[in-house]
């Protein structure tokens, strides 16, 4: 059993070691084991103009869409947890529906029915699509935190003279803070790594980083994509380790 677990973890994590090694190669072509060690491909990543632009777009998009999804999701999660809402299940299903539909379909649908006929800018469509995609995660994670918070505490605050809004911000908000932060991390990672939704929503000058990488892979297999993958993996690792340390992120996945 232990041996099997070891092999499974090797299968899951081993490939990352291979990318890291390949990205440190001094040679011209992708190879493992690498031909000599150098940082030339890591340096090249920072020199490719399109990678810089798409990184900035992906970062802005991830932060913006996560914030928007939380602004919509937190009040909805709160209402679903604290009020007797008619059709609650249907409302939950509507908000959760982006999880049930392949991302590529979402991207294409937005392109055909928002961008083309209504002349929406592609960046705006990307932002809306990513927000819709993160919203179900935000709702689920925040709902889970609210479920652990007894409503009596809040009712007590209201009985003692706090306004409803005051009770929310001073009693509820501090208690669901970890859940909201976990939802932020999950939302950011989901948006930043998202490919299928963004696939059709790209145009001249508007490409997210993963789409840019896929396009680059069609031209060449040189080790710069390995170097970029290594940097991105390190970034994700850092975010997740910090989140795990302070929030226990794995509870929410």
């Amino acid at each position: 059993m232990r041996v099997a677990l070891g092999l499974v973890l090797l299968f899951l994590i081993g490939p990352f070691a291979v990318i890291v090694a390949a990205s440190l190669s001094a040679g011209e072509t992708l190879a493992f084991p690498p031909q000599g060690l150098s940082l030339r491909w890591v340096e090249k990543v920072f020199e490719v103009e399109s990678f810089r632009a798409s990184f900035v777009l992906s970062l802005t998009l991830a932060i913006g869409a996560t914030s928007a999804a939380l602004a919509l999701g937190v009040p909805a999660a709160y209402a679903l947890a604290r009020y007797k809402v008619p059709f609650a299940e249907i409302l939950r299903l509507i908000v959760a529906s982006p999880l049930l539909v392949p991302g590529i379909v979402v991207g294409l649908a937005l392109l055909r029915y928002l961008v083309v006929p209504l002349r929406f800018p592609i960046v705006l469509a990307l932002f809306l699509a990513h927000t819709a995609l993160i919203l179900p995660y935000a709702l689920r994670v925040v709902s889970a935190s609210l479920a652990n918070l007894r409503p009596e505490i809040e009712e007590a605050a209201v009985l003692l003279g706090a306004s409803r809004a005051g009770a929310f911000f001073r009693v509820v908000a501090p208690n669901i803070r970890d859940g909201v932060l976990a939802a932020m991390v999950l939302g950011f990672v989901t948006s930043f790594n998202q490919v299928p939704v963004s696939l059709f929503l790209s145009g001249p000058g508007v490409e997210t980083l993963p789409i840019d990488m896929l396009g680059y892979l069609e031209i060449t297999y040189d080790p710069s994509v390995a170097a970029l993958s290594t940097l991105l993996a390190a970034l994700s690792l850092a975010i997740v380790l910090i989140a795990e340390r302070f929030l226990g992120l794995t509870r929410y996945v």
Partner: protein
């Protein structure tokens, strides 16, 4: 509980309206393209889609790969999840974190790793040539095998996480009792563990099966332009031929099959008393 409905609606309406306008309406519009012919509702596009032998091959390949990935993930998932559940103390959390971590890394990076490993000059081919099993590098990339391996690595963590939850809720005495009564490992797995963890398996199975069918990057990068799955076929039809009708049909097929997988898995979960 607070009873003011108006308040509740003010809080929920933005999220619900947003999802309806940005998501539900456009997607339904796209799906309906696949059910119109000469201005009327019709199943003609569906039968036209399946009349092509290429489309049929892609459909069956997608089902086959998704089923194989789900089966392999279940096998490996039970072994890994049981081993993790058996760990005592703080090591368990670290193991769970190791399983979750890959989920957080860009799927482009994860798929790209397999190009390095399976390519003509990759480790696998070098090892095969070194051992003398082959003289020429094998063509492993751009095949169903490559897609299978890539998808399994991508989705296995979801199965393991679902099974850890199920195995942790398993009554410990059940396994111990069976062992005292003389059951061997295989009997314990088939007669005790499997029936008692069916719900976790159903959740993980749905995630892996639907995930295999709707993954785009893995078939695009590891399958190439020739070994298509439904997602890559959809992309090709739209980007090359602007064929929205096929897109509507494929999108409907993907959604229907994801739901069907969910129903089948739930049946499996409920059949525990049989």
């Amino acid at each position: 509980m607070f009873e003011k409905r108006a308040e509740a609606f003010v809080l929920i309406a933005p999220a619900a309206l947003f999802s309806l306008a940005v998501f539900v309406a456009p997607v339904l519009a796209l799906l309906s393209e696949g059910f119109h012919f000469e201005g009327h509702w019709s199943l003609q596009p569906l039968s036209a889609f399946f009349a092509s032998s290429l489309n049929q091959a892609v459909f069956w390949r997608t089902l086959k790969i998704a089923a194989l990935v789900t089966a392999a993930a279940a096998g490996l998932g039970y072994l890994a999840a049981q081993a993790i559940v058996d760990i005592k103390g703080g090591g368990k959390g670290r193991m769970v974190a190791m399983v979750v971590l890959p989920l957080m890394v860009s799927p482009v990076a994860r798929t790209y790793a397999w190009i390095v490993i399976l390519g003509r000059t990759g480790i696998v081919n070098r090892a095969l040539i070194f051992v003398g099993l082959t003289d020429e590098p094998l063509r492993i990339l751009f095949s169903e095998t490559a897609i299978f391996i890539g998808l399994l690595q991508l989705l296995l963590p979801l199965m393991i996480l679902s099974l850890i939850g199920a195995l942790e809720n398993l009554p410990r005495d059940a396994v111990a009792a069976a062992r005292v009564l003389g059951a061997n490992d295989l009997q314990i797995f088939v007669k005790i563990i499997l029936p008692l963890t069916r719900e976790g398996f159903a959740v993980g199975g749905t995630l892996v099966f639907a995930g295999s069918m709707t993954a785009y990057i893995t078939p695009a990068v590891l399958g190439g332009a020739k070994v298509l799955m439904l997602e890559t076929l959809l992309y090709q039809r739209v980007s090359i031929a602007n064929d929205l009708v096929s897109a509507g049909v494929i999108a409907s097929l993907l959604i229907v099959m994801s739901f069907a997988a969910n129903l089948v898995m739930r049946r499996i979960a409920k059949a525990r008393t049989a």
